[in-house]
Amino acid sequence: MIPDPAAHSARSSTRIAPARLRLDRITSRYDDHGQSTLALEDISFDVADGEFVALIGASGSGKSTLLDIISGLFAQTSGEVALDGEMLPLKARLGRTAYMRQRDLLLPWRSALDNAALALEVHGMSRRDAREIAAQRFPEFGLAGFERAYPAQLSGGMRQRVAFLRTVLADRPLLLLDEPFGALDALNRVALQTWLLDLWERERRAVLLVTHDLDEAIFLADRVVVFSPRPGRVVHVEPIDLPRPRSREIVTTPQFLAHRAVLLDALGLLQTGGAA
């Protein structure tokens, strides 16, 4: 089930816009007590403008490491990262993407409004202007009336939405989302997935979402990239051809379940009976 690189690039080149993100043979090794461990091996794939790509794999398959590499926080051992067609070294990638990790990472001493405006301030906007821009989007994120609340006063779901708003307001063409719903309970997670989909339909920014939730990946993405367990390698790329806009009912359709079966197989989760 290894994807044909030729077919893959042919598919991308049919698009007019250049790839927001292009990963070319990314390999990552790290030293663990003098022992060299391979975390990522030969990772190559693109995320086109306006495309939603989900990255799925067992924990420890280096998915988060890959996002750290793309955002410029962590150096790859070999391979290239290109953003908007521009090959960028590590430090030059800092500030080029909007990266949201699993933890909301709200600064406890800042109000919800000031947390949401953080990236704007970092990019040089005055606090007043940044606040004004952030405040306009509070109702849309279901946060109206909570502008002055501190993170400790907010529920988990609300905190996550503030973190989302902060990521969106960073105004970068590529969003990197590392299990943004991982810490939430099932009900909250489903609600936020639907909400994220609505938001994405309106903004159509390129998204690379890391998740270990199969349904989440199929429900949200245009393409699902499957990683093998350590070292992480791309074992399958599944285009999701479900019509948009999507609603929650789609998860029970035969097409959805067909994608699910293929992805379960790619993850090696259908061979439970056939243990050698």
């Binding site: 410029g72 500030g95 990472l105 001493w109 953080l118 970092v122 990019h123 501190y150 400790a152």
Partner: protein, 257 residues
């Protein structure tokens, strides 16, 4: 207001009881005033000597505040330097800890020889005792800064100064205030100790002189003022902390860990 009254009712009742027992015991046993004055004697001392007490209180208060301010600046600067550089940490940190083993009792007479009977040696003693808690708590606070928050700022393209200003400093403030609260109480002890070694003014000096003249009630009055000064300054720092860090009120113990 109601809870406030209830919280303080117990301590106040015990205090009133103790003062009453003291007054009665001294009168009944006919203990001479120079040996142990009654609470009313001390109240009289306050009334008669208030100008004198105020004059010396001002001297001590100035020593305490100057010493604390010097230690605050030095402690924060050294704390930041230790946090910023591993080389400086290895060079300075062991020395700071070792310096705490030098007893102030041994150092104060030397300061007297070098700086005389004036303001300087008291300010230095107060600053020296304040410095350690402030510097150590600053280092601890800066180290407590969440690494993932710092990484997030980096991924936004934040400069080193922005990360310091937006994450490290606010993260260090609660710990810095803890150090400051301990330090301000130490500063009062330090200043009085400096005065006892050799001085021409201040509550420590007044206590020593009054004791030599068997003005025991005035000694008690000075002790009472020192105690109130320590409590008052501690409360002042705690109040500034509450106003400066409003977000801390919503943090539960579970969040802190």
């Amino acid at each position: 207001m109601r809870t406030f009254v209830f919280r303080w009712l117990g301590p106040i009742a015990i205090l009133v009881l103790l003062v009453a027992v003291w007054e009665i015991a001294v009168r009944v046993n006919d203990i001479p005033k120079w040996q142990l004055p009654t609470p009313t004697d001390i109240a009289t001392a306050f009334r008669e000597d208030h100008a004198l007490l105020w004059e010396h209180t001002r001297v001590t208060l100035r020593e305490v505040l100057l010493g604390f301010a010097c230690a605050l600046v030095a402690g924060v600067v050294v704390g930041i330097a230790i946090d910023a550089s591993r080389v400086l940490e290895r060079a300075i940190y062991p020395l700071i800890i070792a310096s705490q083993t030098i007893p102030m009792v041994a150092l104060a007479p030397l300061l007297l020889i070098w700086f005389g009977y004036g303001l300087a040696p008291k300010v230095i003693v107060a600053a020296l005792v304040c410095f350690f808690p402030i510097a150590v708590n600053t280092v601890d606070g800066l180290r407590d800064a969440d690494r993932e928050m710092l990484a997030m700022l980096r991924s936004m393209g934040a400069s080193g100064w922005q990360r310091f200003r937006l994450v490290k400093i606010p993260a260090a403030l609660p710990s810095l205030f803890t150090g400051a609260r301990i330090a301000i109480a130490f500063a009062v002890i330090g200043a009085v100790f400096g005065e006892l070694v050799g001085a021409s003014a201040g509550l420590g000096y007044l206590m020593e002189r009054s004791a030599a003249q068997f003005q025991t009630a005035r000694v008690f009055a000075a002790i009472l003022i020192l105690s109130l000064m320590g409590v008052g300054l501690f409360a002042l720092v705690a109040t500034i902390e509450r106003i400066a860090l409003p977000w801390r009120r919503f943090i539960t113990d579970a969040d802190r860990s």
